[in-house]
Symmetry: C2
Subunit: 237 residues, 2 copies
Amino acid sequence: MSVHSGNTPCELCASRKLSLFADLPEQHVCTISDNKNLISHRKGQILFYEGTKPLGIFCINSGVVKVYKTASNGKEQILHLSKKGDFLGYSALLGEENYSNSAMIVEDAKICFIPKEAFLTTLFNNTPFFKRITKALSHELGVMEEKLTDATQKSIRERLAFVLIQLGNSYGVEGGENQKIDLVLSREEIAGMVGTATESVIRLLSEFKKDNLIELEGKRIIIKDRRGLARLSDFYA
Amino acid sequence: MSVHSGNTPCELCASRKLSLFADLPEQHVCTISDNKNLISHRKGQILFYEGTKPLGIFCINSGVVKVYKTASNGKEQILHLSKKGDFLGYSALLGEENYSNSAMIVEDAKICFIPKEAFLTTLFNNTPFFKRITKALSHELGVMEEKLTDATQKSIRERLAFVLIQLGNSYGVEGGENQKIDLVLSREEIAGMVGTATESVIRLLSEFKKDNLIELEGKRIIIKDRRGLARLSDFYA
DNA sequence: AAAAAAGACTGACATATATCATAAGAAATA
DNA sequence: TATTTCTTATGATATATGTCAGTCTTTTTT
């Protein structure tokens, strides 16, 4: 975990333009920039733990992070994956609560840490920015409600198909007819996204493969028939 | 659905003190009060539908409302129940999206409608109030994440036990050793809260009864052994 | 009050999925 | 390179829960 303080100011940061900081006026960008800390993280490292106190927010520069909760049976429920331009941990800060979930690096990452005060000051002195954050929060809530509904009303097969489609949307690289999911997740992690047992994922993946919906290339998954998966996922019902 | 415009100003409203409006300065309370509309609703009426455009927020004066999503199989997933002092629909407004869920009256209710402009103006001119709303939103997100995790990792039996405990907490009236849930929900609605089939709820409820955890009095449920239910719900694991 | 509709309940049954066990393959470590 | 550990894969098995069907009860409507 290496620190590059000040390294690349936010003013020049490419991933900032993807983020909620995109339209921040220069003055505020500078406040953030002066206070941020860019840190490199390796796969497997923890960004924060459920139950601990948030001291700031994280802005992902590169890499992938999984945000998850650990259930009482020890299994991880992955709430979402975050990538370049995404903010992490602002919900706990705004909720004035300890983290309600944990975050772990899934793909080597560079992440800026912005201390609480700098972030909140900017927020409270810039209503448009505050609005944007709140909008993101509201959207996240809607997404989570959707996930809950899917979790209770859809089968594992449907949910897995849906997760694959989403992974394709976010991490897919096109190649002819196919779409390769360019992100290495263990079967256990995929199970954590779907909310099922690892063995079920493995079994269903080989079923999907047999049905020519996907192809398996080691840990990587290639989507061969997106529409087929969509049909299976009950996406359009 | 009867309208009592202006009826009982917010300044004097008892349920306001329970709400996010609690600490609003007088000036802003008046803005809200001048614009609000108190409406009486009967059980079964719809407050808003998923997919429609929000025109304001709702503040519950009395009664109970269920907020739910309709899954592709037609079943309702109840996201939460709201009662006196609760706000409804602000998430869609702040997310600048159509409603992501629907709301229906479960117990006859009096509800104030506050038009979008009055609400947003107050919000954007009162940072502490905006903070409080955002805090509530963040908290809701955490709760939803917890529900998702429970939905994927716990059994129906555990989830039903947990729902009963929560209903006891929110709508329970004490009576000796027992706690009566003073809210009439159909078995189908309880199933919607748990995220399961109606028959499963019925079966499990009679099992709980046989195990002396609860008692059934028509539609009403009486909790006889809260700790037993908590143990069953894996609450402390 | 009678009729109709909706809801609660019980039983039979099918099956998706979790769990356990074991083996093969891949990756990490010595 | 050898050894150990982790991950993927496959099979066998148990069971919780969904679905369908039918009866009884309660509520609503006429």
